[in-house]
Symmetry: C2
Subunit: 203 residues, 2 copies
């Protein structure tokens, strides 16, 4: 589905280089890719991280499965092909934000290694930070804030990650957060510290 | 193609409101949608406008047909359906940038009224500024910097806008620029002035 179809196109270098833009913004654009089971705490941590960054006058923007599906990806369903295309598009949009100098924070279950690795490969080196938001299926099911696990167990939702569809845990995540032992604030701070140490919060 | 397929989703209000973000950035996010024939001058004007905005410490980002087709829309060709989906996706991405407080500048031929109006409808009121970059076909063909009109006339490119595919001029563009009488710098300044008068360059 993602093969190159368009022809007669050349890469267009804008008048503003990425370096100039980063200097103006005093930060470096990057994709912070959070992955984990439903109810692992991805969105909560993403919201707090975004707030922390904005409080420090850093530009950050959150792409979230719950809201992106109403717009860009509203013509995608939950088939294997559509799930892959969903992740691909989000990766490309995050890459555009990163190119714009923004810290793009994505919080999607993104259960398949292959799809996440494709996004990593598309991003430049050092421009993709994978955050594994780890939780046991047991704990996630106990939280179940939206009652989705219950529905999946009852067979009302098909292909639900962890129940009747696999979650493939990251093998080379830059950051691993166990949300059974780490509170959301501390988790967000852990990512913020990583960004600071990595030099993303300066030009 | 763009019907709502996904279910079990609710709009997710982030922890940072759009108003808070605009206040922090001292500007309002908006989509500046440039439309016009190939060689009308869209990209040149867009580049200058982006530079002018960044020089004033305003966040702007340019989405361009030439570069977006290598990423987000690389799985789209030039069929009528794919052209519509191309414009739809770009509109949705511009909307995300505008939501992030950024002035998104898009420069695509975007020849069909219907497609542009769909993007306008998807954007909020006052969040879509259509800029008609006007040029006669004769003048565009004379410029022909990439030799595309020549190829289209020779039948080497099919479905080329203005030659064997229609360009539907805007009927309610917020800004009209005639590039046969207006230089790129002056055109960009005209858009900048519109943004300033409209209050987009302040919170």
């Amino acid at each position: 589905m993602a093969e190159q179809k368009a022809t007669n196109i050349t890469w267009h270098e804008g008048s503003v280089s990425r370096q100039e833009r980063q200097k103006l913004m005093n930060q470096k654009g990057v994709t912070v890719w959070m992955t984990g089971l439903s109810a692992s705490g991805k969105s909560t941590i993403a919201c707090i991280l975004e707030q922390m960054l904005l409080n420090r006058k850093k530009q950050a923007y959150r792409l979230d499965g719950d809201n992106i599906r109403h717009g860009l990806n509203k013509n995608l369903g939950f088939s294997a092909e559509d799930r892959a295309e969903n992740i691909r598009r989000i990766g490309e949009v995050a890459k555009l934000f990163a190119d714009a100098g923004v810290i793009a924070i994505t919080s999607f279950i993104s259960p398949y290694l292959k799809d996440r690795d494709a996004v990593r490969a598309s991003a430049g080196t050092g421009e993709f930070i994978e955050v594994y938001v780890k939780v046991s299926l047991e704990a996630a099911e106990q939280r179940d804030p939206k009652g989705l696990y219950k529905k999946a167990r009852a067979g009302q939702i098909k292909g639900f990650t962890g129940i009747d569809d696999p979650y493939e845990a990251p093998t080379k995540a830059e950051i691993v957060i166990d949300t059974e032992t780490t509170k959301p604030d501390a988790a967000a701070k852990q990512i913020l510290d990583y960004l600071e140490r990595g030099g993303y919060l300066a030009a």
